[in-house]
């Protein structure tokens, strides 16, 4: 059972996150098809609109997932009820309504008209990658996040101050502070781009790693029963590596957008070290599981916890490293290689960590303290494997497309190189295979979602391997 009744407010956040996840994948399939059938759904849903919906849904559902995770784990870590469950519910509806309206605006209003009616002229922030939201939505996100931090902060302050809570709070405060750069949009494109990365890079290769690390540490404490002193020490080392490498690692985005040449060196060296924290997460998770003091009956949650570290290391670490050195990035910058890395990194690190905490917490909130029934877990694990393997193939096909694109369009001299569109025609076979892998991902998602509708709870039998320091 949940230790604190107010943890239950995490449930609507998780449910809504999963609904938006499904929407994101539908639009991913539309985009994948548009890559090969160029006029698919044109002019009703042009590529740029579908892409905006795909990426913005991802960002919003991950934020819902982070918030749900926070509402679930902070009260338990602090050993006190949430400061205000009512505020959490109000914020849920405000954020859900704002997010839904924004997506509907993208789909049903012409973007220039949307900019006009939301008075973008007063404070122009729209039309930049991932920050396409109308300014009013951006303000709404800021307000929701500040009120959320107040609610969580009051909860954490009045209770036990664990390292998990401190690190999670630090990550969330960082997320809020860096969001403010989304309101800074100078007329000088190079300055615009430089500070745009303060949101985008310093989120996903900075403070979000703190959030991921904290959620992972919490789940591992619960699933393995390993002494939290050990887990907290690992957590500190991991986030230390994340920030030591990732902050100056921002420089790998400054190679070709105007900043001076010293960033070629700084960005290459520091971002080459960025796989380290992800590698340590793999070692951490597998080590803790080997040293587990109990066999938790929620096998599915354990699988997600291991899976997220491995896939984050591959997607963010290995695929990031592949093209992060300046002499390589000179050729690969802005090709399908970037798209390949983006897909596996987001899935491995952030999609999977949210699905990890959902897999652990949802059964408990639904009155199944030891996890879902065996059948439900098996179905969920089928979803895990189908989605994960499909994402591996999506990444491999996009990588193939990217390498061929570099070969045809980037490597030859001017005059011999294929034009962008002529090159794209040559990549069609990779794009088709990526689309097929995408349909398998969708099938995996349907199976995963289906697992929530299978009734029954896991048996309470728990083989105790040694004295557990905390209850699950």
């Amino acid at each position: 059972m949940m230790k604190y009744e107010s943890q239950r407010v995490a449930m609507p956040y998780f449910v809504f996150a999963l609904i938006l996840f499904a929407g994101q994948i539908v639009f991913g399939l539309i985009l994948g098809l548009q890559y090969v059938v160029g006029d698919f759904l044109f002019p009703e849903i042009p590529f740029n609109v579908a892409r905006m919906v795909h990426t913005n849904l991802l960002i919003v559902w991950l934020l819902f997932g982070f918030m749900g995770a926070t509402y679930y784990l902070v009260p338990e870590e602090a050993q006190t009820e949430l400061h205000s469950p009512l505020l959490a519910w109000i914020l849920f509806w405000v954020f859900a309504a704002a997010g839904t309206l924004t997506i509907l605006g993208y789909l049903f209003v012409d973007y220039a008209t949307l900019a006009d009616v939301t008075m973008n002229k007063l404070l122009p922030t729209m039309g930049r990658e991932f920050l396409e939201q109308p300014t009013i939505t951006k303000i709404g996100i800021a307000v929701v996040v500040v009120a959320f931090l107040y609610n969580i902060g009051m909860t954490a302050l009045k209770g036990r101050k664990t390292v998990v809570n401190i690190v999670l709070m630090t990550g969330l405060v960082g997320l809020a502070v860096l969001w403010l750069f989304s309101f800074y949009n100078p007329s000088n494109l190079t300055q615009d781009k430089y500070f745009w990365w303060f949101v985008v890079h310093l989120w996903v290769e900075g403070v979000w790693e703190l959030i991921m690390g904290a959620i992972l540490a919490y789940v591992l404490i619960k699933l393995t029963g390993v002494d939290r002193e050990v887990i907290e020490k690992w957590l500190y080392v991991i986030i230390a590596m994340a920030l030591i490498t990732g902050i100056i690692g921002t420089g790998h985005h400054f190679f070709w957008i105007g900043p001076p040449e010293y960033w070629l060196w700084l960005g290459s060296v520091f971002s080459a070290l960025e796989p380290l924290p992800f590698f340590m997460m793999v070692i951490f998770a597998f080590n803790m599981i080997n040293r587990r003091r109990r066999n938790h009956p929620n096998k599915a949650a354990m699988l997600w916890a291991m899976g997220t570290t491995v896939m984050a290391f591959l997607g963010a670490g290995v695929w990031g490293f592949l093209h992060t050195l300046a002499p390589v990035n000179w050729y690969t910058h802005g090709t399908q290689v970037t798209a390949a890395h983006g897909h596996m990194a987001f899935y491995g690190a952030y999609v999977m960590i949210v699905l990890t905490i959902i897999s652990y917490a949802m059964p408990i909130m639904r009155g199944r303290p030891y996890g879902n029934s065996n059948t439900a877990q098996i179905v969920e694990m089928w979803g895990f494997w189908l989605m994960t393997i499909s994402m591996v193939f999506i990444t491999l096909f996009l990588t193939g497309a990217g390498i061929l694109q570099v070969w045809l369009q980037r490597m030859p001299e001017s005059g011999d190189a294929l034009s962008f569109m002529a090159g794209q025609d040559q990549l069609a076979v990779f794009y088709w295979m990526r689309f097929v892998a995408g349909t398998f991902f969708m099938a995996g998602l349907v199976i995963y979602l289906g697992s929530f509708f299978i009734k029954g709870a896991a048996a309470p039998a728990e083989e105790v391997r040694g004295p557990a320091t905390e209850d699950a």
Partner: protein, 149 residues
């Protein structure tokens, strides 16, 4: 990890490391923005026309299909060097190219990628052209590798 390596040592590495690198990053940002960029981004050419062009670029979500200096979507051609690729580095040639291009979209060729008609006025197209011309002159360490972007 060896027992000698304590949690408080780990915490100190985290706190010390992150404070140090945040400060270093701020110092580098100051150097980049204040000392280096004015000589690299040809800001003296940043006319009102260019600024209007940037707003048009944003309000029509051009980056949702195109990339600019390699950033954006990868569905349509790179545009930071389109001034050189299609205008041959000549302002008037590029403006007439842009007018012809914008008025011929979408092509409607079955199965091909389509660029929407954004209903821009002649003046707006000129503003957009000015923005792309200005962008092409930023010192970006010589990227892209060739004219195709």
């Amino acid at each position: 990890m060896a027992e000698r390596f304590t949690k408080s040592m780990a915490r100190n590495i985290y706190l010390g490391g992150s404070v140090f690198f945040v400060l270093l990053f701020l110092a580098l940002t100051f150097d980049t923005q204040v000392r280096a960029m004015p000589e690299r981004d040809n800001r003296d050419q940043l006319t009102e026309e260019v600024v209007r062009g940037k707003h048009l670029w944003e309000e029509n979500n051009c980056v949702g299909c195109h990339s600019i200096m390699g950033e954006g979507a990868y569905f349509a051609p790179e545009l930071a060097n389109v001034f050189d690729r299609r205008g041959g580095g000549n302002t008037e040639v590029f403006k007439s190219y842009m007018r012809a291009w914008m008025s011929s979209q979408p092509t409607g060729i079955p199965g091909r990628r389509q660029m929407p008609d954004f209903n821009l006025t002649q003046r707006e197209i000129d503003d957009l052209a000015a923005f792309l011309e200005w962008t092409s002159k930023i010192d970006d360490n010589g990227w892209p590798p060739n004219i195709e972007g």
